[in-house]
């Protein structure tokens, strides 16, 4: 047995972050192919209470670093701890979700370890011959999928987009060994002092783009205030969320978090409905998981039509107006006078 696959466990609310669940689930197959142990690292303040959770998703072992100095979160301290543990125990692979925290501490650990790190992977596999980790991520703004390898140096490190793997609990599982690690004094140094924390308020709460069943998207072709309002009505009538391409959020017509695509929200709805969206790759890479893609655009040559299941070449404004009327009819006139 080799020295292991590590998944860095993150906590969200009252349990393991979904992306940690997804990574542990995916890593079970990597473990089979490599014949190595799968460990989940839990590092933080007040994380010990979650130490059994990783076993539900297939971890063989939990490495627990529980320390009060780990609050507030400091990527500097966190990265050093991961690097120190990795030096000591020599894992083959370190994986984590591409969360804001991990995107900060993984490069710090990587740099200390002088090894490779691949960001925002959308697939992971083991090369059957070389046993190297094949890390597939979008390149050139999603026009191309590139499989990245880190051939010589170890560990091989990668962050993975949330939502690309499925979280699967084991039907039968048992709590395995939990290895508790005491931090050395120098690693207990947290360079950050927390002065205040404001939780995200309700009105700035970001809609659940990732989990949305219907995603309506405003593209450059409909970048006008009045049309955006109508699209909101459509999104609401369909029980979905309204997103946009980058030019639209750049113009301030919708908040930045509404940007759908490689550098924004990655969505996988049942229905994707794009108006005036040309379909540039940075956007389309974020909608690959959609079941049905419908696009309305004036330009018959727009790349979005190459991947749309249904396309309408025409004036998006006209279609939007008709659609608003018809959806009002459907839901009953008067109720949707938003």
């Amino acid at each position: 047995m080799g020295s292991g696959i590590w998944v860095i466990g993150e906590i969200e609310g009252y349990g393991l972050h979904p992306v940690t669940q997804e990574l542990l689930s995916k890593s079970r197959s990597l473990r089979e192919e490599l014949g190595e142990e799968l460990s989940c690292l839990l590092v933080g303040h007040d994380v010990a209470r979650f130490k059994e959770e990783p076993f539900r998703y297939g971890a063989d072992r939990v490495i627990l670093v529980e320390d009060s100095s780990l609050e507030p979160f400091s990527e500097t301290q966190f990265g050093k701890i991961i690097a120190e543990l990795a030096r000591e125990k020599g894992p083959t692979i370190i994986l984590s979700g591409a969360t804001e925290r991990a995107k900060a501490f993984m490069p710090i650990a990587q740099t200390i370890l002088e090894t490779g790190l691949t960001a925002n992977c959308m697939d992971l596999a083991i090369d059957p011959q070389t046993k190297v980790l094949l890390q597939t991520r979008p390149a050139y703004g999603g026009n191309l999928m590139a499989t990245i390898v880190c051939r010589e140096r170890r560990p091989q490190m990668a962050t993975v987009r949330a939502g690309v793997f499925k979280a699967e609990q084991l039907s039968e599982w048992k709590v395995g060994p939990v290895e508790e690690v005491e931090l050395k004094d120098e690693l207990r140094q947290n360079p950050l002092t927390q002065v205040a924390f404001e939780p995200k308020s309700d009105d700035e709460a970001i809609p659940d783009y990732k989990g949305a069943d219907v995603v309506v998207v405003a593209g450059r072709g409909v970048a006008e205030k009045g049309l955006i309002e109508k699209l909101k009505v459509i999104a609401q009538a369909l029980g979905g969320v309204l997103g946009a391409t980058r030019p639209v959020t750049d113009m301030g017509l919708l908040p930045r978090h509404a940007q759908i695509g490689q550098t924004g929200q990655v969505v996988s709805p049942t229905l994707y409905l794009g108006f005036g969206v040309s379909g540039a790759a940075p956007h389309t890479i974020g909608i690959q998981g959609s079941k049905v893609i419908v696009a309305v655009n004036k330009d018959p040559e727009a790349p979005i039509f190459k991947l749309a299941n249904y396309g309408i070449v025409g004036d998006a404004k006209e279609i939007i107006d008709l659609l608003v009327d018809r959806l009002r009819d459907r839901t009953g006139r008067g109720e949707q006078n938003v």
């Binding site: 900060a104 790190l117 999928m145 990245i148 010589e152 979905g240 049942t270």
Partner: protein
């Protein structure tokens, strides 16, 4: 306050076209611009200088034409800039890049804070900022929306993570990455443009910064591309014909079939 702002010249996303048959970029028509994320870092840097005095030095690694990006940064308020350009730097991944930047910053000498954009639109890794902090052995704070300097010399920042916004304090030196949308980047000024035109942009090569061969370029980059493929989309492919009213009828039917 000595402020270093790292920027990168990238292809403007909306000018990037791709040949799916060949699997290569269409070079023609590509317009280069400052990585949009970096504009927020630059604005934060210029605002810091305006509040506390000092100098903003822009640092960029790239081919000789990346000098244009540095000139634009000067027209947007930076005091000066340095281009890191050497054939030996080509092929550097984020690990090698953070090494090269670190060597350049050491050559610059004294500094209080390094500001970086959160990520780039071309690489999309968000790794160079934190990696650079690790190389410099200093504290890193990512996803920052606002920075102020306290009377005691410490920095106070607002950092936004998924669950909310933290106000944090830390000692300099610091590497800070700035969140997209943290401020409203100013347009260039006329005086800035004139200054930018005249500015001398020193070019640092491998020798100038004393970089070791095995740490830069392909040799210093542990990751490599094993293979590539063009993503394919599967399923029905149908253009809906007819009058707009008929097309909307068809849409409603598709919605019903999709169960929404």
């Amino acid at each position: 306050m000595e402020i270093i702002c790292c920027i990168k010249q990238v292809p403007a996303t909306d000018t990037v076209r791709f040949d799916p048959e060949k699997g290569t970029l269409i070079r023609e028509g590509i317009v280069a611009e400052i990585n949009p994320y970096d504009l927020f870092a630059l604005e934060a840097a210029v605002q810091l200088r305006e509040s506390y005095g000092g100098r903003v030095t822009v640092l960029s690694m790239g081919p000789p034409q990346a000098e244009e990006a540095i000139r634009e940064a000067i027209s947007r308020g930076a005091d000066g800039g340095i281009l890191l350009s050497d054939r030996a730097f080509a092929g550097s991944d984020t690990l090698a890049t953070s090494y090269i930047l670190k060597k350049a910053i050491e050559k610059i000498g004294s500094w209080d804070v390094v500001l970086c954009g959160k990520q780039t639109t071309d690489g999309d890794t968000a790794q160079v900022g934190p990696g650079l902090a690790a190389r410099l052995g200093c504290t890193c704070i990512t996803c920052v929306e606002a920075i102020e300097r306290m009377e005691d010399g410490r920095f106070r920042v607002r950092r936004r993570l998924e669950e909310g916004t933290y106000t944090l304090e830390a000692d300099s030196p610091l590497v800070i990455t700035i969140e997209m949308g943290a401020n409203s980047p100013r347009v260039p000024s006329l005086k800035g443009k004139m200054r930018a035109k005249k500015a001398e942009i020193p070019i640092f090569t491998k020798e100038d910064i004393g970089a070791e061969d095995e740490m830069i370029g392909l040799a210093g980059s542990p990751t490599s591309v094993d293979s590539t493929y063009v993503p394919e989309f599967k399923g029905t492919h149908e253009m809906i014909q007819g009058t707009p009213a008929e097309q909307v009828d068809a849409l409603l039917k598709i919605f019903r079939e999709a169960g929404v």
